[in-house]
Symmetry: C2
Subunit: 370 residues, 2 copies
């Protein structure tokens, strides 16, 4: 396991070689996890050819010691307090500690920082405290993380299996009179009993509520003729899954069928257009054009998809403005939708792995229910 993380750090530094960067300080905890295996560091310090150093809130010190696969852990406390005999805690400010560590490692040159994650006040403190040249390396980390390794794909596939078990359970609950909350509860129970947690707020939307792409489950009871959108994801070993299915209570009307089939066709067209080297914006366009032919593109009010990994939304982005290019090893969602005010909506979402010349659809739950 340790080897995996060491290799990732080597890859990062080789990406950064041209910029002549001596050390990297990461403040996005997901970036920290990617290089160390622990998910709550306030700063992760990477120095070429050395073990990472994780700065964690004092209360996370013991958990960090247990869960960190590769790296040395130091707790941080902003105030004077008695410290336990088994703790290694620095009392003071995070950036002073980071500065000390960089000095201990003899770092004199440029320091890379994942600037995109920083709040304006933190950034000011960092710039003031680190008496070194700082450069933004967000893009290098984002691009590394966007290409999934075999180990990462294994975790993602596991997260998908749990999500699909939850979708199966949900689909078996869809009797008239059940509430959105009851279905959400069943879904999250399946996650817990499979050693997973949700990777985002579970969406269960009945009837007119299915017109809200990010609906929150409420006490709405299922009625005959309702469209039903269920969007769920499990998180396991740190990795997320994300799948949406649209069901119907009873027999679908002609209008419902028309919308459903248009969305399904849009998704199929988009998936068929995916291959390594393809522009993400073009994949979005494939779906949008299909919906346009059905007179429904004005009701597709969001982007087509997004990368999934340690974060539920990560690089690349699939929408009309995206500058991203799809590459082998990326895992993305493909999720066209159509939403009609006071009526409901249809969204169908699958996860795919981009490969040379095409893609592998990772989710396998059936899409058709009527």
């Amino acid at each position: 396991m340790e080897k995996i993380f060491r290799k990732r750090i080597e890859s990062l530094f080789s990406k950064l070689a041209v910029e002549d960067i001596d050390a990297v300080v990461l403040t996005n905890p997901y970036n920290g996890f990617y290089f160390t295996g622990f998910d709550c560091a306030v700063a992760t310090i990477l120095v070429r050819a050395a073990e990472p150093v994780l700065v964690v809130p004092r209360l996370e010190y013991l958990r960090a010691k247990k869960e960190t696969v590769y790296g040395e852990v130091i707790g941080i406390s902003s105030y004077e307090a008695e410290i336990g005999p088994y703790e290694r805690v620095f009392i003071g400010k995070t950036w002073d500690l980071v500065n000390n560590i960089l000095s201990e490692y003899g770092v004199r040159g440029k320091v890379g920082v994942d600037r995109a994650n920083l709040k304006v006040d933190e950034h000011e403190k960092l710039v003031k405290t680190l008496s070194r040249e700082i450069t933004d390396i967000t893009k290098a980390v984002v691009s590394l993380r966007s290409i999934k390794s075999e180990e990462e794909l294994k975790a993602i596939r596991k997260a998908i299996r749990v999500a699909e078990e939850a979708m199966r359970r949900a689909s078996n609950c869809l009797e008239k009179g059940v509430t959105e909350e009851e279905v959400a509860s069943e879904i999250e129970r399946v996650f817990r009993l499979n050693h997973a947690d949700r990777s985002f707020n579970t969406i269960v939307a009945f009837g007119e509520n299915a017109a809200y792409p990010h609906a929150k489950p409420g006490d709405r009871e299922l009625k005959e003729g309702d469209l039903i959108i269920i969007d769920l994801g499990a998180k396991i070993y740190g990795y997320c899954s994300d799948i949406t299915r649209t069901f119907i209570c009873g027999k679908a009307s002609e209008k419902q069928l028309k919308i459903f089939n248009a969305v399904l066709e849009a998704q199929r067209t988009a998936i068929e257009s995916i291959r390594s080297g393809k522009k993400a914006a073009e994949v979005d366009k494939a779906a949008r054009e299909t919906l346009k032919q059905h007179g429904l593109s004005a009701y597709f009010n969001h982007g087509l998809g997004h990368g999934v990994g340690l974060e539920i939304h990560e690089s690349p982005t699939l929408n009309p403005a995206s500058k991203d290019t799809l590459l082998s090893g990326m895992v993305v969602t493909v999720e066209p939708g159509v939403y009609l005010e006071r009526y409901g909506g249809v969204r169908i979402e699958d996860m795919v792995l981009v490969v040379e010349g095409g893609c592998e659809v990772l989710t396998s739950f059936e899409r058709l229910f009527f």
Copy 2:
């Protein structure tokens, strides 16, 4: 309802009067919720004596229209796309739209911004785009939000009732062999069936896992003699609750009893010291000193508590470095804890309302189980 929000906006502007601020732009969605009733705005624009304007992601437009109690909603899309007949969407950049709206309202003077929430890149764009003097008004909003109104207290009390029902359910599950995940699942089921959701990641920690203050529920089975920490909170109508109890499986050992009683005494001492006008750091000190008398203060590795409201952690902060003063109407947690590596931990957490001359303990779940 609309009146409540209008009054809050008036209060904010009267707080800001000395600074001569003409308009306020909020990017923390909780701040937006506080003044409008909607929880996902990317920018909430407040102009003195006018209705707020909410800028929301296009996909949230319909939900925002439904849920916003006070304010006008505009969707934002960063890319060209066909727009539905019932939508009001601006295609372009958020800060250009905000700038246009401020101009429409004739705002020429200073604009207040909740700077603490802004990421460094967003802040740069904002400064570049808004051709107006900008000033940080985070503190004014934080201090307004820290004093709870009657309506807010009603929501918090409701969130506490749901949390305590979940704690009751959890306490009834604590049979040997049950796993942390199973208990967490039962807790979250109670939330859902009471029209609530969790307000933070539920903590259920058995035995040695109770040494991690922020443990994640796993497949650890409950064993005779285990200390059990359960830390849970419900969220309803946007408001959070937060309560922790420590149980034991079977008969408590002398050592367990000693730790438990010390933590209980620390909590009691701290709660008894609370009154309007008291320094938050002194309340923390009351708890820490009590634990010191028991030789346990080195194992209390976090602050004593925090404000609770729309966010699970908000102002004020109760720790040794806090500069906050407790005031009537604040709702805070009091949660001393002792954590021993490879052994377990004890934390007892209640929510209290600060009043003149004392405090009202809002949580009522019994603290003693052996």
